[in-house]
Symmetry: C2
Subunit: 240 residues, 2 copies
């Protein structure tokens, strides 16, 4: 029996991913109402700061495994809770009411012993084709990379949205461009896929764009820094 | 008869998009070899800095329309070349050997008279379902927004790639995350779709991540600026 402890997006998506594959319940972390008496694996999917507190309230039996699902929280936060503990980190952005292809979600596993690792890998294999081991240090690095790849990408879309609204265009006009940008990365490295004025070394357009951003000092700063990175990578490639 | 003047990605994709729909040729801008004697529309798809020079060498007849395909070049660069001129700007990232869904590519049209606008719209409608008018000022703004949405997104993927390689992970582990980030934007605004430590106000993870970027001052700067933007948008939303 698997008990997912949580009421947010990660908890409900993990429940969706597992419900037809194994015995699984989803339990409110505040009340723990409906918790079965015999649980083999507790999966704690709550806010980072609440993990320890929730874990310490669980009725963990001798042979039960306790794991959390957070990217940036060390496994050791669970060491006082059970003899067997670990981390079950699905690398995805979870939103309510959006259907996900669970097979595609990479899951990163850590455990304090080989049996714990094996159990968590078996659990992940019920829905995912992409299972990796990652210790707490590597998982933090993964989380950091995914902040750039996902959260910051979304923030840049917010900037594009604002700039487009200034010209009375809807954000949807850049969506095909964005889809293609992502599609290219299935076959090209980010370096190979780079296009645009900075990658062409088009200093006249760069100067023009910086001018246009005079009223948005933060966006101007982002424009400068990211363009500098693109230009310096381009020069490195030319020297190769 | 349409003559696409250019040898790069934009020229060859426009040719692909049009070849089964109308009489069209693609012509090398250096030699102009094979240029038909009667051309109705010249589409100049060359580097920004070469547009004027290429345009001035074209054998433009009285009733021919001349247009360029650049995002950040004013229409007026063509005013000495023909009585009828304009811009035909497809908003997409074009790479060789990648198949595109041309129906989905928004095309932004400008013309120096209503007849020119009508002709360019008709041409765009041969492959695209999304045709808009945009004067040179608006088109520049579109180009700027698309640099954030496309070129800078790709550059952030380069950063993620570098961070992942540090932990011996392949860039492909973040691709499902990236696809989902884009998919969410089909139904949510960038503000609604925002997730991650900055949007949760998780200052402990933010401090941790900044620490981890100590060896990458540019990436640290990007992390700070974009997180600040996410945090301030979040606070604005709370106040709403």
């Amino acid at each position: 029996m698997i008990a997912i402890i949580g009421s947010g997006n990660v908890a409900s998506h993990l429940y969706e991913a597992l419900k037809d594959k194994t015995d699984v319940v989803i339990i409110n972390p505040h009340t723990l109402e409906g918790l079965p008496s015999k649980v083999d694996i507790f999966l704690i999917a709550v806010a980072d700061s609440a993990i320890r507190q929730v874990a310490e309230r669980l009725p963990v039996t001798m042979d039960a495994l306790v794991a959390h699902t957070a990217g940036s929280v060390s496994m050791d936060i669970l060491d006082s809770v059970s003899l067997s503990y670990g981390v079950f980190y699905p690398l995805q952005t979870f939103s309510k009411n959006l259907i996900l292809n669970y097979k595609e979600i990479p899951v990163f596993i850590e455990g304090n012993n080989s049996e714990a690792i094996k159990k968590l890998k078996n659990l992940a294999s019920l829905f995912s084709d992409k299972i990796f081991e990652a210790d707490s240090e590597k998982r933090k690095q993964l989380h950091l990379a995914s902040v750039f790849a996902c959260n910051f990408t979304n923030a840049l879309m917010g900037v594009a949205d604002e700039l487009l609204r200034q010209s009375d265009f809807d954000f949807s006009v850049v969506l095909p461009l964005l889809s293609q940008t992502v599609k290219k990365l299935e076959t090209l490295s980010p370096e190979q896929a780079q296009t645009g004025p900075a990658s062409r070394g088009d200093t006249s357009v760069l100067a023009d764009h910086l001018n246009m951003l005079d009223k948005f000092p933060e966006y101007q700063q982002i424009y400068k820094i990211i363009s500098d990175i693109i230009v310096s990578k381009r020069l490195q490639n030319i020297q190769k």
